[in-house]
Amino acid sequence: MVAAAHAALKARVARINALNVYPVPDGDTGTNMLLTLESVLKETSKKIYPTPRDAATSGARAALMGARGNSGVILSQMLRGACDVLAKKDELDAETFAAAMEGARDRAYASMRAPVEGTMLTVIKDAAAAARSATKIGENIVGVVRAAASEAHASVRRTPELLATLRDAGVVDAGGLGVAVILDGLYSVVSGEKIELSEEDGAAADTPDLAAIAHGGEEAWGYCTEFMVVDFSGDAEEFEDHVHSSGKSVLVVSQSDLVKVHIHTQDPGSIISYGGSFGRLAGVKVDDMEAQVREREPDVSEAEIGVVVASRGAGNRKIFESMGAVVIEGGQGANPSAADFAEAVQKTGAKVVVLLPNNKNIVPTAEQVEGLVDATVHVVPTTSIAGGIAVMIGFDAEGEPDEVAEEMREIAASIRCAEITRAVRDAKVDGRDVTEGAFMGLVDGKLVSISHTVEEAALEVAQGIVADGTDVITLLGGEDMFEGTLGELADKVSALDAGVEVEVRHGGQPMYPLQMVAE
């Protein structure tokens, strides 16, 4: 059954991903839900459990371990609620299914501090109610599941009526659709029918850049190699194919006759000289990622307090590690799981560990970690990488753990974080029209600037921050940000107010050409 749900979800993952309220290129709701289910599948498939209770308990735990992102965490709670009910039953009948749906609903609602309607919560609630009604009119298991699945889809279509952000963005709720699709999968198992794909529930949306998501699984392997080929001439397709076959986490971006390459490879020399045969090489950068891992092995014997951060980009990793954090790759478009966090928590060897999720969607995952590890966990809910770096200033490995955690919390509350990103489609955000390709400047998650260039958006954002008063602004350049542009921008920000100190770092994070933090 899990396999069928998984298959159904997998078939629709791109569509769910595309349903994102914010036109930022994260689009990972479907991926997160899929990975969460995949974790259950891995645990339960090809295994025979002595009792339904054992199967249900293992499934619930696997869901929790594999939960990624906000939607994944909620889904894991639903699965846990359902498994709690299933554990007490020997047989899956209409009554049991309805009870399991209610268990899923109750657990999901209970896990949210402030449940929002028009989301996957509403969908599970409506589906559970439909399942219950169906049992009352004497439907069998097939009828009950069909009722739940079909009501779930109806509920998904109603989500824009309940949530203004969905209405403005012209989409239905992505997590809700995920729930409906999973129920479709269950229906196909109990009924033996094939799943029908209806086109209406997707709304028109672009398929997101899955390459960026693939890139997110960046692991410490070989050498992180970056270079540009200027005045590129030759067969671009052949070039791209060769690069893709030469390593992992490959990104090839071209703009007229300039080609930028990012690759993890064991042999950086040969790929660089290959690139050199197509034009002039520039911006060559090679980092030994395995050495970075070796370096960051912390002193296990002494650590009272440690930090685990989710971060993307080689530059950001270096900054975090130099300040004593254990880094897990993950962020926008590639959310790490609770198990990833738990593993990193062990790596710190500390009794008290502060988690910096550095992304809104990773905060709920981080909050699940406490139950998975022996260490005391403090989640400081940072929502950007730049913000996370600022919070690291408060980290003192030799300090009194509770005081250090409190200090980091205080810093998080005092900073302002801004990010520049690019709209992947037309949308209405915070009451303003955003056109595809425009650069959006967000301050603490609020849209404050829409511009044609990163520089304009950044400057407008910086002006607002400086006007509100700040002492230090740090600019964190993304992977596609050129050093020169970053430098010029820093000069312009400095010129806004002589009293403000401006610091520039190359972070290398994807999707955000620029992040800023004002302290």
Partner: protein
């Protein structure tokens, strides 16, 4: 019964001290390579020193005074019954050892006290000692006053960079602030005679704000403040203004301590 004081050149000297017949100051030296040696606070002005620091390829080293220099000072003060020696923290310099060795070489009562601080902090301790002397107290009382001052004295300082403390090996427990790829401006203090981090901050303003926050209660309590700086008079004026105090005592930090904290450092001691 009369008491005289010997101290070393890393003690910031309140006005008028140098003219007193009952005080001797034993100089430390700093060197740029084996050929180029200067006497602390004598040979080079602050500006000349920092110009030399900027242009030198070599990192300067500092030397504690030879025991002989202390012997000379003790003998100079033969007219006094007792000699009390106040040295820079033994955790930062070997000067204390020189002073103790010298004490064993003269045939008179000399007691060496480790101030567990330097510059402005030592200046405040010296001031307490001189006040007790001027009040006509006997040696035991003076020694008690000094002991109490060593216990109560606190010093906080800001450095522009940790590079100098690192190169000179005087970084103590502040070592853990090193090597970060993000610009941290620490506020440091001297505790148990060693440099320790007080707070890590970002940016010049916050660095100063952290000092103000820590020192303000001392200002309210009416404790005596002694300011010092290394080519940073403006920052110091700003700090005094933020604390709402007239700059009671202000000294330029000399080349020896300057070699360790680097240009741009400033701070305040209070008792």
């Amino acid at each position: 019964m009369t008491t005289a004081i010997v101290t070393d050149s890393t003690t910031s000297l309140p006005p008028g001290v140098l003219e007193r017949p009952d005080v001797r100051v034993v100089p430390l030296t700093f060197n740029f390579g084996p050929e180029e040696s200067y006497t602390d606070k004598v040979d080079l002005s602050n500006e000349e020193f920092y110009e030399r620091l900027r242009t030198s390829d070599e990192f300067p080293t500092t030397s504690q005074p030879p025991a002989g220099a202390f012997v000379e000072a003790y003998e100079d003060l033969s007219a006094y019954d007792d000699i009390l020696v106040l040295t820079i923290s033994s955790g930062l310099s070997g000067t204390y050892d020189s002073a103790v060795t010298a004490a064993g070489m003269v045939d008179r009562p000399v007691e060496v006290v480790d101030t567990e601080t330097a510059e402005m902090g030592a200046g405040l301790i010296l001031r307490e000692a001189l006040r007790a002397i001027d009040e006509g107290r006997d040696y035991r009382d003076i020694r008690k006053v000094v002991g109490e001052a060593v216990r109560r004295c606190e010093i906080l300082f800001a450095v522009g960079t940790l590079e100098y403390l690192e190169k000179s090996g005087r970084i103590g427990r502040a070592q853990r602030l090193l090597g970060t790829a993000f610009d941290i401006r620490p506020v440091l203090k001297v505790e148990d005679g060693e440099v320790v981090p007080h707070k890590r901050t970002r940016g010049r303003k916050r660095q100063m704000a952290a000092i103000v926050e820590e020192v303000s209660p001392a200002v309210q309590a009416g404790r005596t403040l002694y300011f010092g700086h290394v080519a940073a008079p403006d920052a110091l004026a700003e700090l005094a203004e933020a604390l709402g105090v007239e700059e009671r005592y202000v000294s330029e930090i000399g080349g020896v301590v300057g070699c360790h904290v680097g240009p741009g450092a400033y701070g305040v001691a209070y008792l």
